[in-house]
């Protein structure tokens, strides 16, 4: 067995209290690796592409797991597995958008252990970066995925700044559409941040996918009742139905007033470094009904402002068609 096939020497902590986990996270700083299901972790380590000093396994912390009712909606603990989310009755009845998105993540085995927190804060899938190259995202000074001969079929068409990686998370789009709030804890306290601001683009955080700083842990996600039971549409287009990441995905929440759309959230995944809200579509569909004509009318707005790379022009009609499908009656 090649040495790369085994895990490198790295310390493991399995705290059972959040406070201990936070202390460890603070102590190790960016040398600590917070572990949920670990499905986005072991590949990095086996490939020797990332080199943390210690893994901090959160799955033993009881308080981080489970789906709870709140005064205004629900709260989902960060280490709740995708399997638990997919099978949760409350989520299926009121927030089926999230259940659908979680159901399209990776494969059954990964959903069985993969956590919501891990899925939301997973790292970019750009293969130049995953290969361990010292690109911008890895703290370097160039992008291997955006050059005359670079292969960038899966990369960004929007919001790139030096780095052109995209947000790979399926649940992230649903969270932005549902106006969820992320609860982030550290040894100095707790902060809550809107899902839209939780995810970070390369213009501000080129080495991170989220605004989580070293020492901080995402502990829970709160979903307000605002969108509970509304009309949802989720679709993920990928090369393979299983395991694969989205080429483009769309998560839509619409609150209907009779036949017409009173308010809506259209969020695309796989097109920018963070979930991308189609604000012009949202404002264009206000007051409109779901129909093929209206779908055709607003679809072209979906790709406004895009700047495709050499090999990903196909994402533009894909975005438009996903909006069209979401708007069909």
């Amino acid at each position: 067995m090649a040495s790369f096939d085994v895990m490198p020497d790295v310390q493991l902590y399995q705290p059972v209290e959040l406070d201990d986990a936070l202390r460890l996270a603070e102590q190790y700083g960016d040398g600590g690796w917070v572990l949920g299901g670990g499905q986005d972790t072991y590949g990095w380590l086996k490939d020797r592409a990332k080199n943390p000093q210690a893994m901090i396994d959160l799955t033993g912390v009881e308080g981080l797991r489970g789906i709870r009712e709140t005064e205004d909606g629900i709260e989902i603990g960060a280490t709740t597995t995708l399997r638990e989310i997919i099978r949760n009755e409350r989520i299926n009845s009121d927030y089926s958008l999230l259940a659908q998105a979680a159901g399209r993540v990776a494969s059954p085995q990964i959903r069985n252990v993969g956590t919501l927190g891990g899925n939301l804060s997973q790292d970019a899938r750009c293969w130049y970066y995953r290969r361990g190259l010292a690109c911008y995202r890895a703290g370097g000074n160039l992008c291997y995925a955006d050059g005359p001969e670079a292969m960038n079929r899966e990369h960004a068409v929007l919001g790139a700044s030096r780095c052109v990686a995209v947000s790979p998370s399926d649940t992230a789009t649903a969270m932005v559409a549902l106006e969820a709030t992320m609860i982030v804890a550290s040894t100095t306290g707790q902060r809550s941040v809107a899902a839209e601001d939780f995810f970070a683009g390369p213009d501000t955080h080129i080495t991170q996918m989220t605004t989580l700083e070293p020492g901080e842990i995402l502990t829970a996600v709160r979903i307000p009742s605002k969108w509970a039971g509304k009309r949802f549409y989720f679709e993920k287009v990928a090369d393979r139905d299983v395991w694969d990441f989205a080429l483009v995905s769309i998560a839509v929440a619409m609150s209907m007033d009779g036949d017409s759309i009173a308010e809506s959230r259209f969020v695309c995944g796989g097109v920018a470094c963070k979930p991308h809200r189609l604000r012009n579509v949202e404002s264009a569909v206000r007051g409109k009904s779901l129909s093929d004509e209206n779908a055709d009318a607003v679809a072209p707005l979906a790709s406004a402002g895009t700047k495709p790379l050499n090999y990903n022009h196909f994402k533009l009609p894909l975005m438009e068609n996903l909006v069209r499908r979401a708007m069909r009656g």
Binding site: Q11, L12, G38, L45, M55, S107, Q109, W243
Partner: protein, 195 residues
């Protein structure tokens, strides 16, 4: 960037390396030091196929590695070792997991079942195993242990799945021979719905 942090890290590294250098029995001193800091112990018990097994497990060790190289349960195969192919699928508390992407330390309080634990004590094969033989499901056989475990998990939860449900449940297991339909035939036969 943070000078305080890096100084602390530097001091820690010096302490760690001097401990390792000063002690011949590095294992025990490392153990004692780690325990005081809340890190995992190495000598643990895990429940595999109904038996409690004592085993020395490194902190970063994966379950697939422990099963195959420490417990000699080589029925579990390692294919990609990246959680992509499903050859290493085992059941943990009845749920399918990629054992190559599970830390052994995370299953200490849980029940692991591998393909070796399926047959009855008299040697009778599990219905899924028998159905896979009857349907000639495997071709080269490398992915078979994983396919078997996924099918067992499905049928224990949903004894009479539709073919589409079976397809979904088996979708985390790749077969490079492309014998997917044969495996699905096996699942349907094992559920008593003859294909």
């Amino acid at each position: 960037m943070n000078p305080q942090l890096s100084r602390r890290r530097f001091i820690k590294a010096v302490i760690a390396s001097s401990v390792a250098a000063a002690s011949n029995s590095g294992f025990h001193s490392a153990l004692a030091q780690d325990r005081s800091r809340g890190a995992v112990e190495r000598l643990i018990s895990i429940n595999v196929n109904g038996q409690t097994r004592r085993v020395d497990v490194a902190p970063q060790e994966t379950l697939a590695h422990t099963l195959r190289y420490k417990l000699s349960l080589t029925g579990t195969k390692i294919g990609c070792n990246r959680g992509e192919c499903g050859a290493c699928t085992v059941l943990i508390d009845g749920i399918t997991n990629y054992s190559c992407s599970t830390l052994t330390h995370s299953v200490r309080t849980r029940a692991v079942k591998t393909v070796e634990g399926l047959q009855a004590s008299d040697g009778t094969l599990h219905p899924v195993q028998q159905a896979f033989i009857d349907e000639l499901s495997p071709q080269c056989g490398f992915c078979t242990p994983g396919q078997v475990m996924s099918a067992v998990a499905l049928l224990s939860e949903n004894p009479t799945p539709t073919r589409e449900e079976a397809r979904q449940a088996m979708s985390g297991n790749l077969c490079r021979c492309g014998a997917y339909d044969h495996y699905l035939n096996g699942v349907m036969r094992a559920s008593g719905q003859n294909s």
